[in-house]
């Protein structure tokens, strides 16, 4: 959804985010919604400025989010408050699931199909009765076993929609499974697990359900307070279940808003910097899957039904964009040039692999991992094993100076003369010193112009990549080795201008947009892409952003007038197709009429036999609401989706309340305690998510459950004044003085127990490391009563380091490397630690108090 769509919401639940402080620009739309009468709710362990501006603050213990959200799901179902017309038509609530499916309620915390030795699930029993459901393409690599892909895809065709029980009485229908799964998530149970008083919890349920339906919509906003857990994907899933039950998807003011942490983190996901995806959510080929040839890849990965059936067009057009004339039908369009991944190459395993000597060199752009990555001391050790390290930044970051000033050097564990890593620090331009685009949290791509010349030898990231590519191509130009073919084949004809030979950023954007190679004209829509090598496109979802040589839609800045439709279609470009709300077919009822006047967005125009409205319809423009596939003709792609299937990226076109394929840790969100927790799981004997990615090794040890040595819950957070990894603002006097040094927030009750005064030094410790910071005694954090026991939570900003003007120890020293089973993302929000008064012994004036 778009940020401005929040202003149309009647209720906004901000959870897993301190939006007012960390997304202050977007938060103005929350304020607008409040001014229009919306109810604003903040669910968070800390009382922040977001809480202060909300109507209701619901405190919960970090890591108990699924218990809270599961309680809302139960409340909706038990009180029969779901939007029945919407959910019956647009979700899989009536679908019948295999009789072999067993729930954590039956298996004490496990779903059926768990392989205890392998630590992973087989998903056969999660499938719809009598068939196997493919997952959306972008999720294919979440498949659990290499063999599963072969059985789920390929030549298989679906022979009809999944079996359903529209009466919802069948015990194996999704509705009944949901009811059983969340039956024990009562308000009392929510209070026991989360620490949120049941009265407060019920107020959240009432506000959200009261403000959802044909005339009203509600939104959820989240940030890394949800994603940075080993159950992060399932937390978000729980919110999607709520929104799908309440009909809050694809409608004005409805949705689940992912607040991205950096200005263009959405863009870096789209294009992407992710190891397992090619640009715009195409799968990276995998050496352990049947992906050895292009034909095999397309056979294995092309989803039979839904929009992703177009995958071959997008993939082959990408190969043409990258390899140009060297990509021919005869050589599989250069498919062999694409690297095939073999395992999890995400950041955490890569850090560990570097420490084992696998990785010899590293480029670090736009990141400061010795501050921003978990287990920061282990990160330093890994960097010290590299042969070379290139850091591009506007300042000398802690990552660039670890070899002379790092924590391990300060402690005497490493000596600069023993570190073999050759570090190159290259000055980088800041945003205003370069042309380019930023893709923000709502998929909104906005062009920005260079407004000032960069100082000294600073260069843009684009300059660095383009000139590095030029040099690599020159280096390998005469090579006869097959392995160098990819570099030789790469199209790299970027125009350079000015004294610094700066590449033309618009040319890059046009390459991403794509061209018709028969005419060399820019494409205006991804519907024009073909799979015969006659189109080239660097990212199909961005197609249409530069539809003509003199038209760059991302430059456009024309907002709607105050009495306009409010979708602002002439303000920049939103992928795909400049569409503001994905799945906006769901804003109309099954017959194609808006659910209400208040929430009109797109609708079926009977007279013109077309979808129309305030937004670009996310549907085939002339597919009538009464269209039904003729299954006797073995339909594929969009032919197989009916006129009432809004979720076109999903093979069956329905929102999946129950997910048969695509997730590694279960078809439904279920509450587990965080990997490190001071309490036992009240719901199951199974304490933690059983498929969490764990990499124990010396220096990365984990705490036992309820370990008395580490009794406190630790969470980390950001500050308004210091941006992300911190240095870009710690190095600026005017922002540094606003947050001059590191601190830890401690509830007064814990401070009293520890005889701590405000601004006393304290030592925080885990098995990974120890740090010292000043104590901030504050009511922002309150003690939680968890199942009758008082549990303290403390919180610390993670943005500090030793460079710049604002100094302080790095919170990430305390954290451990482990990850969500689906994404491998680290956990920074719910771990355990100890706290004691005093200072660390050691150099630099550190000593015990």
């Amino acid at each position: 959804m778009q940020l401005w769509s929040l202003a149309d919401a009647d209720c906004i639940v901000i959870m897993g985010s301190n939006m007012a402080e960390n997304h202050p620009v977007g938060f103005r739309f929350v304020v607008q919604a409040k001014q229009r009468g919306a109810t604003i709710i903040h669910v968070d362990p800390r009382f922040t400025r977001t809480s202060a501006l909300a109507d209701l603050h619901a405190p919960i213990r970090s890591g108990s989010d699924i218990a809270f959200l599961g309680g809302i799901i139960r409340y909706i179902l038990v009180n029969d408050l779901w939007f029945k017309e919407w959910a019956m038509a647009y979700t899989n609530i009536a679908a019948l699931i295999s009789e072999d499916y067993q729930d954590p309620e039956q298996l004490d915390g496990l779903f059926s199909g768990f392989d205890e030795k392998g630590g992973s699930y087989r998903i056969e029993t999660w499938q719809p009765a009598g068939e196997e459901e493919p997952s959306p393409l972008a999720e294919h690599h979440a498949q659990h076993h290499a063999s599963t892909t072969e059985t789920l895809f390929g030549a298989r065709r679906m022979h009809g929609p999944p079996a359903e029980d529209r009466t919802l009485r069948d015990p194996n229908c999704v509705y009944q499974i949901l009811k059983r799964h969340y039956e024990r998530y009562t308000p009392e149970m929510v209070e026991r697990i989360t620490g949120c008083p049941r009265e407060t919890f019920l107020k959240v349920c009432e506000a959200l359900t009261k403000n959802s339906g044909p005339d009203k919509t509600g939104s959820f906003c989240y940030a890394v307070g949800w994603t940075h857990h080993e159950t992060g994907v399932q937390i978000i899933r729980a919110a999607t279940i709520i929104q799908s039950l309440l009909g809050n998807v694809g409608r004005p003011g409805g949705g689940v808003m992912a607040l991205r942490g950096h200005v263009s983190i959405q863009g870096s996901t789209d294009l992407p910097t992710l190891y397992n995806m090619l640009p715009t959510y195409l799968p990276q080929p995998n050496a352990t899957k049947p992906h050895h040839t292009l034909k095999e890849l397309l056979k294995a990965e092309t989803v039979p039904t839904g929009w992703w059936h177009n995958f071959p067009k997008y993939f082959i057009s990408l190969l043409k964009a990258w390899y140009g004339d060297a990509a021919t039908m005869r050589n599989d369009f250069g498919y062999s040039f694409i690297p095939k991944m073999v395992g999890d190459h995400s950041q955490q395993p890569s850090t560990l692999a570097a420490s084992d000597g696998v990785i010899k060199g590293m480029f670090v752009f736009g990141q400061n991992p010795t501050v921003g990555s978990v287990n920061a001391d282990l990160v330093e050790r890994s960097l010290s094993k590299l042969d070379w390290l290139v850091v591009r930044d506007s300042f000398e970051t802690e990552t660039a100076s670890f070899w002379k000033k790092g924590r391990l050097v300060q402690r005497g564990e490493l000596r600069p003369e023993d570190i073999g890593t050759e570090v190159f620090l290259l000055p980088a331009c800041a945003q205003a010193e370069k042309d380019g685009t930023v893709t923000n949290t709502g998929r909104l791509v906005q062009w920005h112009d260079k407004v000032v010349e960069a100082v000294g030898d600073s260069r843009s990231d684009l300059w660095f990549i383009v000139h590095l590519g030029i040099r690599l191509k020159r280096l390998y130009a005469g090579s006869q080795a097959k392995r160098d073919g990819a570099i030789q084949a790469l199209t790299w004809n970027y125009r350079l201008h000015g004294q610094k030979q700066e590449p033309d950023a618009l040319q890059v954007l046009q390459e991403i947009n794509g061209r018709d190679l028969t005419s060399n004209k820019l494409l205006s829509s991804y519907q024009e892409l073909r799979d015969d090598g006659t189109t080239a496109c660097g990212g199909w979802l961005y197609c249409g952003i530069t539809p003509d040589e003199d038209h760059n839609q991302s430059r456009s800045r024309k907002p709607d007038p105050p009495d306009g439709p409010g979708t602002h279609l002439n303000w920049a470009f939103t992928w795909p197709s400049n569409r503001r709300e994905m799945y906006n077919r769901a804003s109309a009822d099954p017959e194609g009429r808006p659910w209400s006047e208040a929430k009109r967005l797109v609708w079926w125009d009977e007279r013109q036999s077309r979808w129309t409205g305030h937004d670009v319809p996310d549907f085939e423009p002339d597919k009538s609401p009464d269209y039904r596939p003729d299954w006797s003709k073995d339909p594929v792609g969009m032919e197989a989706l009916s006129g009432i299937d809004p979720f076109i990226m999903i093979p069956h076109g329905k929102s999946m309340l129950f997910v048969p394929s695509g997730l590694k840790d279960g078809p439904l969100p279920t509450h587990y305690e965080p990997l490190e927790s001071p309490v036992r799981n009240i719901l199951y004997d199974r304490q933690n998510n059983p498929v969490t990615k764990m990499w124990p090794r010396p220096g990365n040890e984990l705490h036992e459950t309820a370990d008395p040595c580490f009794p406190y819950v630790l969470t980390t957070f950001r500050l308004t004044e210091l941006h992300c990894g911190g240095l870009s603002t710690r190095a600026m006097p005017h922002t540094a003085e606003l947050q001059p040094e590191a601190f830890v927030e401690i509830p007064p009750e814990l401070a009293a127990e520890k005889e701590l005064a405000h601004l006393d030094w304290v030592i925080l410790s885990t098995l990974r490391g120890e740090i010292e910071v000043k104590a901030m005694i504050t009511n922002r954090l309150r003690p939680f009563t968890i199942d009758g026991r008082v549990i303290y939570q403390i919180g610390m900003p993670w943005v500090f380091g030793y460079e710049g003007y604002a100094h302080g120890d790095t919170a990430n020293v305390l954290l451990a490397i482990f990850g969500d089973a689906n994404t491998s993302i680290h956990s920074t929000k719910a771990l355990t630690c100890n706290l004691r008064k005093g200072r660390l012994a050691g150099p630099g004036g550190r000593r015990d108090a």
């Binding site: 030795k117 392998g118 630590g119 992973s120 690599h141 498949q143 659990h144 076993h145 290499a146 397992n276 995998n286 050496a287 352990t288 991944m341 073999v342 395992g343 999890d344 190459h345 395993p349 560990l352 692999a353 084992d356 000597g357 696998v358 006869q480 080795a481 392995r483 590694k664 764990m694 990499w695 124990p696 090794r697």
Partner: protein, 107 residues
């Protein structure tokens, strides 16, 4: 300080064979030990090849050695179930490569 003796191909094979025999799951110390031994061997070979002026055939062999390392990585950091079959094949490739490195005086 005396230079540390580089691991032999036999030591690398012992580590890989141990992994294939035990097939450990969710425990990385065995994997790390195998990987560290392998990368030390790889680095030693790389140094010898550089000393010889990086002849193309040697670089080809080195690329294959890195492919074996990728297979080891695949079972250490799998996306789904560890692809043991891949490591079994890579083990045999390594044995053949090690013989070639030895013949060429690069290990």
């Amino acid at each position: 300080m005396p230079e540390e003796q580089p691991p032999s191909a036999e030591m690398v094979l012992r580590h890989i064979d141990g992994l294939l025999r035990r097939r450990p799951d969710r425990e990385t110390r065995d994997f790390s030990a195998a990987t560290r031994c392998f990368t030390a061997y790889r680095d030693h070979v790389t140094g010898r090849i550089r000393d010889k002026g990086s002849p193309p055939l040697s670089l080809e062999r080195l690329a294959k050695l890195n492919a074996v390392l990728s297979a080891l990585y695949a079972v250490h950091y799998p996306i789904g179930s560890p692809p043991w079959v891949l490591l079994e094949k890579a083990r045999d490739s390594f044995a053949a490569l090690a013989a070639e490195f030895s013949m060429a005086g690069e290990a």
